[in-house]
């Protein structure tokens, strides 16, 4: 691709690109600042707590609660980024040319329609991946410096859908899907609404499907010694709580146990009934990468199918 083709592709959507670049820089910078501030506040709080043996008078300003709240906002921003980027940049690639009746000229001037589409899409793919990755990195820091958890070394499944490389992968899939919808419905706003609805349905379906897959592969995870931030480290994905029979090793969910034995399931001392050990049913945080790879593969297939569909529609449709 020539430099001129890149420049033209950016010019076509310069306003959207400027808005997104500004927003991504803002979200990433805010995330990094929040992460840094939270880390500093947590360090000074921990030092004060260890010195005094109590947290009285250790409150920082801004407080850990404030950083937790701001981190929540940054995570919402990160979660929404792939959808906003993909939909708003993807839909007009073909739809605007057809709506503005410039597609005929543009396609005639190109060597082929497929080549024209690739020249329009490739720069956008680069921009979308870079921006989503930047936001994903910022959000990764926010998660790892969560003031109320020990996630610095291994965040596991914490904030699964709002950090790291899931963001560029999702953004790419949504972008190609939106391009395909824009090619089929050649009016920007209706195409945006339709692409938004399809994206919502697809991602709800994907989320349910992934949960079902994970549940099928979930296994007992022992409760750790109660630490400051709960019974689990390493961010496992928990689906249920159960009891393991110490004698047979058989695992029975808390609900089934209650249905079978009644109130014995919940002893007053909060411990497991005699002869049983409380376990969680889930996926350990160490398997985060495997599951992200699996979801990325599914989204990759979606992206390839959407891209192929967009190419087919552009090759066949009237301008």
């Amino acid at each position: 691709m020539s430099l001129g083709a890149w420049r033209l592709a950016f010019r076509r959507q310069r306003l959207e690109l400027l808005i997104f670049i500004a927003a991504a820089v803002l979200v990433t910078a805010a995330s990094l600042l929040i992460a840094w501030g939270a880390s500093e506040a947590r360090s000074s709080f921990d030092a004060c707590y260890q010195a005094q043996g109590t947290d009285a008078g250790c409150a920082a300003s801004p407080s850990l609660n404030d950083f937790s709240t701001w981190g929540g906002f940054a995570r919402i921003g990160a979660f929404l980024t792939p959808f906003a980027l993909g939909l708003v940049l993807g839909v007009p690639v073909v739809a605007r040319e057809i709506e503005g009746r410039t597609a005929g000229i543009a396609w005639t001037l190109s060597r082929s329609r497929s080549r024209w589409l690739i020249q329009r899409v490739l720069p956008l793919v680069v921009v979308v991946v870079v921006l989503a990755a930047a936001v994903g990195i910022g959000s990764e820091f926010v998660t790892r410096t969560n003031p109320f958890a020990e996630l610095a070394a291994n965040p596991g499944f914490s904030d699964y859908t709002a950090r790291g490389w899931m963001l560029p992968v999702r953004a790419l899939a949504v972008l190609l899907l939106a391009i395909a919808v824009g090619a089929m419905v050649p009016r920007q706003l209706p195409a945006l609404l339709l692409a938004g609805a399809i994206t919502l349905a697809l991602f709800v379906g994907l989320s349910i499907g992934m949960d079902t897959w994970m549940t099928a592969e979930a296994r007992p995870i022992p409760f750790e010694e109660e630490s400051r931030f709960g019974p689990f480290g390493g961010g496992p994905r928990i689906f249920d709580v159960a009891y393991r029979d110490d004698a047979t090793g058989k695992v029975i969910t808390m609900n089934d146990f209650y249905n079978r034995y009644g109130d014995v399931a919940f002893p007053d001392d909060g411990q497991a009934p005699e002869g049983f050990t409380q376990v969680a049913i889930g996926i350990p945080g160490e398997e985060y990468t495997t599951w992200v790879l699996r979801e990325s593969a599914i989204l990759g297939v979606l992206a390839v199918v959407s891209g192929g569909l967009a190419m087919l529609v552009v090759a066949r449709r009237r301008p």
Partner: protein, 328 residues
Amino acid sequence: MSRIGSWLVLSFRLNRWEVLASAAGVALMAAGMLWFTWQLRTLAATEPMCLDPSTYFAACEQSAQPFYELSSRAELLSYLGWAAAFGLGLVLGVPLVSREIEQRTAGMAWALSRSRTSWLLQRVAFAALVLVSLLLALAIASEALAAAQLPTHHLDHDFSWYGRRGALIVVRGLAALAVGVLLGALLGRVLPALLVGVFASALMFTAVSLGMDRWVEADAIVIDPASGDREGGRYLGQRVELPSGELIDYGELSRRGLSVEANDEQGRLFATPADIGHPERIIGWDRGLVVPGRLYPQIVLRESALVGGMASLLALAATFVVSRRRPG
């Protein structure tokens, strides 16, 4: 065809996809709300005494469960109704001017009209008519759903589901419409205007909410949160009443270097658990700031006037922009 008839037909043709999509969305949502309303009323009718929180019947523990589960599912629709006000306003408002500019038809349309202002008025009037009709249907359906979800509340004097039911949905939609028209006229491109419109609406809503919280603080009363009875009031936040009688929030408490780590049964706050039982070491009392439910109509009216005023200003600004800008 009469003038009004041709205006309606032309306006519909220009915006048919947005109007049809909005109508379909509202129809789905309203139908969902009415279905939940019917289901909840049927459940409530079987064991009416189980839904009164002021009474307790052991037998109700199981029978009230399906009602609350269904009510919790209906909650999603109620939030969608809240978001629909902004969504519909922007979807109908943004393309009115921006599409004409983007497709380079604005010049001709403006030249053929008596004036740009009358052209804009005709376009906006149709969008506002459609928007108000759709949002009114949604407001009525959401009010019915809220009444079914909260059968023991007097919703005319109750802040529950504030902004997710009733007139505020319509007023907020009109403000979003004005934001959309103005940004569309300023930017002259549909999608960037929609994107900026989403940010602008979120900012405006946050500012109005914070402003309203400040405004109604003067009408708020101080309650003891332990009493648990807010009588449909609007909760503005937790406060600490110092021994001096001063009422401050927890942020201010932290800024003054005070930290609450313990409280006793009377809601008295102490720095450490060891201080409990030493009245001279008390930091203050736990308090809540609540706007009484009886002020609900008055507060809705105030917010409607504020948001309506903002919408009018935005519409004036849009008229100014359209009358001055280049058509391409």
